[in-house]
């Protein structure tokens, strides 16, 4: 350790705060998004199941985010028998 580094201020806390704020903003948005897809999946499943017999495990919900347009793709496998 030289004399100059001893004199230099060591305020690392503001760096920590800034890094955390950026990271958490990103992570919070990710978590909200996965929750949204799960909710959407359940809701779609419930409504479709009213009219046709579906295999719940085969439902896929995908969101592709683009810069201007995003697409939502829902794939559901339907059994070839009418609902009771």
């Amino acid at each position: 350790m030289n004399f100059l580094s001893w004199l230099k201020p060591r305020r690392s806390a503001p760096v920590a705060r800034e890094r955390l704020e950026i990271l958490l903003q990103y992570e919070r948005s990710l978590i909200n998004q996965t929750d949204l897809i799960a909710v959407l999946r359940e809701e779609i499943l419930r409504i479709v199941a009213r009219y046709v017999v579906i295999a719940p495990d085969t439902v896929q919900v995908k969101v592709n985010r683009g810069s201007t347009v995003s697409t939502l793709a829902v794939g559901i496998r339907v059994h070839n028998v009418p609902a009771a």
Partner: protein, 271 residues
């Protein structure tokens, strides 16, 4: 009906068990009936911190499995008669912790105690989720350190989605407890300060526990710091937090950096 409080953090080693013991003892000393419950199956330590490690016969898992009745597993504190401990199992499989079993134990405890304080395991897995599942309120224990703050944020997200209250559309009360705080280092900008952490996590502050040798001494002795050193800085800070948890209108004690001339002169180099 008792109030269920989970002490949680995401990150390990931040002071959940110390906090559970200290707050439980303080509330019980104030005359209310308190049970502290260890949810850390396989890595139990609340018994050790409470000084009851040689009195454990049955535990939470044996009660859930029906091997023992709940009253058989509860250990009464030797210092405070209305303070009880329900230990975790050290040897059994942690998968034995079932949602239904935990629900039954908690509802029984709610009948008999004013406070049920659940010491959560670290992480965000099953054990941590079950510990928070029935909570009315949560204490999020956070160190002034980036990884701890990040994990606390994650835990806050889980409290808002995985608890019974959240699923019913209600809110779990969430309070922040900052531990291992060094006011001198925070003042010098070397450590996240209280405002930084409160603003980042945006939940109300329950208390600030300063870094202190008394905390280690308390766990060495197997006595909650609120009992073995009630007038020490961390002892007073935990008493203050317990009063606030109890709904009393008291201000948070903010630890000050009382440094002498030589500490000020050489403090920066030592830090």
């Amino acid at each position: 009906m008792g109030k269920v409080v989970v002490v949680t953090s995401g990150k390990g080693g931040v002071g959940k068990t110390t906090t559970t013991a200290a707050l439980g003892a303080a509330l019980a000393q104030g005359g209310q009936s308190v049970v502290v419950v260890d949810f850390d199956v396989g890595l139990r330590n609340l018994d050790l911190v409470m000084g009851a490690e040689r009195r454990v016969v049955y535990d939470l898992i044996t009660v859930i499995q029906g091997v023992a009745k709940l009253p058989q597993a509860l250990i009464r504190d030797k210092r405070i008669e209305n303070l009880w401990l329900l230990p975790a199992s050290q040897t059994r499989d942690k998968d034995a912790l079932t949602e239904e079993g935990v629900g039954l134990v908690i509802s029984q405890l709610r009948q008999d105690y004013d406070w049920i304080i659940c010491d959560s395991p670290a992480g965000i897995e099953r054990g941590a989720v079950l510990a928070m599942r029935h909570a009315d309120a949560a204490i999020i224990v956070t160190n002034p350190e980036v990884s701890s703050v990040r994990d606390s944020d994650r835990i806050i997200g889980l409290l808002d989605s995985k608890t019974l209250k959240a699923e019913r559309g209600e809110r779990v009360e969430k309070d922040l407890l900052i531990t291992r705080y060094d006011p001198a280092r925070a003042a010098r900008g070397e450590m996240l300060n209280v405002d930084d952490i409160v603003e980042i996590l945006s939940i109300p502050l329950l208390g600030i526990i300063p870094e202190s040798e008394h905390v280690l001494r308390a766990s060495n002795l197997g006595s909650p710091v609120t009992l073995c050193a009630p007038t020490s800085e961390p002892g007073r800070a935990y008493w203050n937090a317990a009063q606030r948890l109890n709904g009393e209108d008291v201000e948070v004690i903010v630890p000050s950096s009382k440094k002498g001339f030589f500490d000020r002169l050489f403090g920066r180099r030592a830090a």
